[in-house]
Symmetry: C2
Subunit: 64 residues, 2 copies
Amino acid sequence: MPDGSSVACREKLKMLSENHAELAQMLQDAFEDAVLMGVEPEAMREIFFELVRSLQSPKRSADA
Amino acid sequence: MPDGSSVACREKLKMLSENHAELAQMLQDAFEDAVLMGVEPEAMREIFFELVRSLQSPKRSADA
């Protein structure tokens, strides 16, 4: 649906980029907390991988 | 270093558990935002995997 598309697109990219930066920081902080508390780095990474694998994809109403 | 260990351990586990719940929610929200904006779910998962792979492990001063 290209309505006001280039502005909308720029807004979307901005939001995705902000989400990405915020997540990267939170993941890094949680990773450091865990490692400093004695969790093995590779075990912690595996826990994060599992989180990502288990993410639920939303239904896209645009496709319905 | 077991000083006041069982309380300290419980606090650590509580913190790790809270971090985990918060991250799971943030990842899920960011994932849904991205998919609803048209990013392919599997592409988004790959981006998250890459974030996890690139996490920097802190130096553990306890080991030094």
